[in-house]
Symmetry: C2
Subunit: 202 residues, 2 copies
């Protein structure tokens, strides 16, 4: 089975940056925007729309959709994206060892690949500093942006996987990037991956 | 500030064994039974009683105690043990670098010491195998024993700290000892501790 690292992360925790660096140091691809490209091709939705709806429960249509779920109405856009995303994740997983950031890849690939599942988080304060530094200021307070993103990502994950997002027991390793630093997180993940590969080869 | 590793763990995950090994390799003490000794001296309760009530919500008196909480009744045994335990944890933390297993040490020492907070967990299946191997068979099915222990430990933690037990965001590092293996967990914790000490000394 292919060795794959999946990285779930809180918004603003630097999980994407960590994933890219791990992949670079291990010399394997990191799928993130590439996945969005694939989903865009398959679903016909625009990149930006997928970026927003491929991991976050919609703010407005969420209740409406849940209420309509049993009424035999046509699939929501979010469901169409979920199906295309699922297909894209399975496709890239077949190409060989890689890092996949987000997209519920840990759930989608469960039992289909040899996974090292990672969750990256950080305190509200550290994440506030980071999003202002990386994405710039916005009209909304950083804390409100983060709380909203956390809530919607957890709701999305729960809806499609029926698993609680961010519970330690659902991941092989969880790291506080704010406390440990991004470089240390990269080191730990790399070491665990190399050890895992060694053991499988034995 | 003193560097201290706190290890919270699911019952049967091998967290205690990992803690002892980390301490041994780092050449620092690991407090677990020693803490129980101290609490016993202070509170006057028997060791076995403390082992059971110092981390687990009581099965029978739990509801009764909650209902009575506002009624000005005398402190429960559990509260007396909590106070003695808290004192014992603070006391050992002042002696120098160490590993402390369980006893809500992560919460008790927050802000009082330089902590590396660890949570160790494993799948039900792996923990079942382990408790039968380590503690032997019992009349109760292993899964029932584990579910009961998990529930009572989480309830105890929540009651005294008001923090959810086992949420990734509450720890610096969480590791699945069943997936990664005990030795790998020891390595990761040791490396993180050494890196942390290095950084603080700079």
């Amino acid at each position: 089975m292919t060795h794959i690292i999946t990285i779930s992360r809180q918004f603003g925790s630097g999980g994407r940056t960590i994933g890219k660096e791990v992949a670079k140091e291990l010399g394997i691809p990191c799928y993130d925007s590439e996945l969005i490209e694939k989903v865009a091709e398959d679903s016909g939705f625009a990149h930006e729309y997928i970026r927003e709806h491929g991991e976050y429960a919609a703010q407005t249509s969420w209740i409406a959709r849940t209420l309509n779920a049993g009424a035999g109405l046509r699939e929501s856009n979010q469901d169409v994206i979920w199906v295309a995303q699922r297909k894209a994740v399975v496709e890239v997983s077949k190409k060989g060892p890689c890092v996949i950031v987000g997209r519920c890849a840990d759930y989608i690939l469960r039992g289909k690949a040899d996974l090292l599942t990672v969750f990256i988080h950080a305190s509200m304060k550290k994440r506030e500093e980071r999003i202002v530094r990386v994405y710039g200021e916005s009209d909304e307070m950083p804390e409100k942006r983060l709380r909203d993103k956390d809530k919607r990502r957890a709701a999305y994950y729960k809806f499609y996987t029926d698993i609680e997002w961010g519970l330690a027991k659902n991941y092989d390793v969880c790291l506080d990037s704010g406390k440990l630093g991004l470089d240390t997180c990269v080191d730990v993940i790399k070491q665990l991956y190399l050890k895992k590969s060694e053991q499988t080869e034995k």
